[in-house]
């Protein structure tokens, strides 16, 4: 980004694009849920339902050369970044046409073409990685920004604090995006943190920071623009806490014993899609046919992705030990 462009862009076209990107993630994941119950998708699967405004508000602001590090809850990030829905879906199926050759599945989406560095299923594990990516860019005097997404739970890990310190100490171009959805599996923030204001943690590392309503995509986008501009101009890290909520279970194995349905329902009313749609209606920026049109487009894309995944192929078992080293220095099964 060259212009600071502090003011939010509120054109109808842009607003509808944000809405469409959020609906695209939502509908894709609704389908994934269905496919999971049909056992097309297996293993652990974590849905982004409720948190779409974070990825949609931030990722489109990044340049093509910028880098992204995400967690196991990363379908939304991958889709917004431009990893094709076809290869994402094939990956969820475990087919070799998937973006990680089928080896990773839902939690390990990788895509070199879009500088998408995964899909890390170890909580906090992506943070030190983002420091290294940014260190390389720093040494090479580039203006690339590395954006690292992680949850509120990760903030309790040592790796979070080590990464924050290193980024600030060495002046590395990292945008830390904490997706604070108030829970780490069943552990509420207040049970996990002595200081529940996560944004404040940046201060003790002398890092610029901001907290934003993560259910409001316009606010996230405005904050994201400030943050990315600051990182790109200064080469220094920035901490952005997005306050959001996950509507669904943590993964497909969660009975949700730790929260009331009423709490979830109350948050649903503040959902990012409803929020933006309501705002557009109130400002007469949306026509009744807009959303059905978007949904039709999106559903066609999803149908194509499913067809792609279904038509995909299983990697032959003879290739089991591939991708362990750059070249197969060990003969198979040695």
């Amino acid at each position: 980004m060259t212009a600071p462009a502090e003011k939010p862009r509120l054109s109808r076209e842009h607003m509808l694009d944000l809405l469409k990107q959020m609906i695209r993630i939502r509908r894709f994941e609704d389908k994934c849920y269905e496919l999971y119950t049909q056992e097309k998708i297996r293993g652990f699967m974590h849905l982004y339902d409720g948190e779409e405004a974070v990825a949609v508000g931030i990722i489109p602001l990044l340049e093509k050369r910028d880098r992204i590090v995400a967690t196991y809850r990363e379908h939304g990030q991958a889709l917004v970044r431009g990893v094709p829905m076809t290869t994402v879906m094939a990956e969820m199926y475990g087919k070799q046409e998937g973006c990680s050759h089928g080896r990773g599945g839902s939690m390990h989406l990788f895509d070199q073409a879009t500088n998408f560095y995964g899909g890390n299923a170890i909580v906090g594990g992506g943070l030190p990685l983002s420091i290294g990516l940014a260190l390389a860019d720093h040494i090479q005097r580039s203006d690339i920004v590395t954006t690292c997404f992680f949850g509120d739970g990760a903030v309790a890990e040592g790796e979070f604090h080590e990464s924050m310190n290193l980024a600030a100490l060495w002046g590395l171009p990292v945008l830390f995006v904490c997706e604070n959805n108030l829970y780490a599996m069943g552990t509420a923030l207040a049970i996990s943190e002595s200081e529940t204001n996560i944004q404040q943690k940046a201060a003790c590392y002398r890092m610029a920071s901001e907290a934003v309503d993560g259910m409001d995509v316009i606010a996230v986008e405005a904050a994201g623009r400030r943050a990315i501009h600051a990182v790109r101009e200064s080469g220094k890290p920035y901490f952005l806490e997005c306050r959001t909520y996950r509507f669904r279970a943590h993964s497909m194995f969660d009975a949700q014993l730790y929260r009331d349905k009423a709490e979830v329902d109350a948050w649903r009313k503040k959902g990012p899609i409803m929020h933006l749609q309501g705002w557009l209606q109130a400002n007469q920026m949306i026509h009744p046919e807009d959303v059905p049109h978007m949904e039709a487009d999106i559903d066609a894309e999803i149908a194509e992705a499913i067809a792609f995944a279904e038509a995909g192929t299983w990697e032959p078992v003879e290739q089991l030990t591939r991708f362990t080293y750059a070249e197969s220095i060990f003969p198979a099964n040695r």
């Binding site: 475990g94 080896r103 780490a184 069943g186």
Partner: protein
């Protein structure tokens, strides 16, 4: 420690419930015992092992922790040194890597470094193993790796009796004990005596007797090995199946007695083959029973690859019954 087999009654239970009962029993038995770990309380345990225990036993005894594996494992070590008997649950072996420093550099060394002034009577439980399509970062089997470390004891309960009985014995041990619960066993159901209680942890168990070959295994692979032995019996091959139960220390005597009798051995281990526990067991057989052997020792281990997500590749990566059968036939020179 006696095996509790007095027949006051038999119940239908599961491995998961047996572990839960062991935790409940230990906490009720000894006021110094408490459990801490991630999502063990309000969430009910990532594999539902501790479901209901928070309501029953309260937050002092069932302590939810933040995502701070190194921190709370270290806290368990400290609390153990100061007179408590903590059980630390590390969710899975995959996340134990974030606590590896505390386990290896503190828990395993303190007794020695302090010239026996301090000990660490701590129990660390964790789930282990592949088989649920959880991909490379969530499918490790590193128990053999931990068995490399002097100062630790490493247990691998594979039966309901051991799931129920090993915990208390481990808590009574003056040194750190790691208990590995294979994820594929939690749903295993079966019969258990109502008065099942503590079991010994220093002997391997012969789970099936046979004259033709010794199959040496542990944990989740035990049942695949027994299945292989049953299939082999139909073809006239009688395999003896040894459940190691403890990977450190290893019960050499039981292994050598069996191998000396059968003169052949295949080791089944879900760890990767290179530098595996299977390698250690094999080498001990070579050292102690070489002259009794009639054939090279065989091994069925995981393939040398991170565990892939797709089902067919995951299955091919870890030991399976047909591979065990094939290894036995190779050792016997049978088609």
């Amino acid at each position: 420690m006696q095996q509790a087999t007095t027949q006051s009654g038999i119940i239908d239970t599961s491995y998961r419930e047996a572990v839960r009962e062991a935790i409940r029993d230990a906490i009720k038995r000894d006021e110094r015992v408490f459990l801490m770990g991630e999502d063990i309380g309000r969430y009910g345990g990532c594999y539902a092992v501790t479901k209901g225990l928070l309501a029953e036993l309260g937050p002092e005894r069932i302590r939810d922790t933040p995502l701070s594996e190194s921190g709370f494992t270290g806290a368990g070590i400290g609390a153990a040194m100061a007179g408590m008997r903590p059980i630390v649950e590390l969710m899975t072996v995959n996340f134990s890597l974030l606590a590896l420093d505390q386990i290896l550099n503190t828990a395993a060394t303190v007794r020695h470094m302090s010239g026996n002034q301090c000990g660490v009577p701590l129990v660390i439980r964790m789930a282990t193993g592949a088989g649920r399509q959880l991909a490379a970062q969530h499918s490790h089997s590193l128990e053999g790796w931990y068995a490399h470390i002097p100062g630790l004891k490493v247990l691998t309960p594979a039966t309901l009796e051991d799931a129920r009985g090993m915990l208390w014995t481990a808590l009574e041990d003056p040194d750190p004990v790691l208990i590995f619960e294979n994820v594929m066993l939690y749903n295993m159901t079966g019969k258990l005596a109502t008065d099942a209680g503590p079991v010994g942890i220093d002997k391997a168990a012969v789970r099936r007797t046979g004259r033709d070959i010794s199959l040496i295994t542990y944990g989740g692979s035990l049942w695949k090995t027994i299945e292989a032995a049953t299939a082999l019996a139909a073809q006239g091959i009688e395999a003896e199946v040894i459940d190691l139960r403890s990977l450190r220390p290893l019960d050499d005597a039981t292994i050598m007695t069996s191998v000396t009798k059968t003169r052949r051995a295949v080791i089944v281990d879900e760890g990767w083959r290179s530098g595996s526990l299977a390698a250690e067991v094999g080498m001990r057989i070579v050292e102690q029973a070489f002259w009794a052997l009639d054939a090279p020792i065989g091994r069925v281990c995981s393939e040398e690859v991170p565990i892939p997500y797709p089902s067919h590749l995951e299955s091919a990566a870890i030991p399976q019954t047909p591979k065990i059968v094939a290894a036995v036939k190779a050792a016997l020179g049978r088609p």
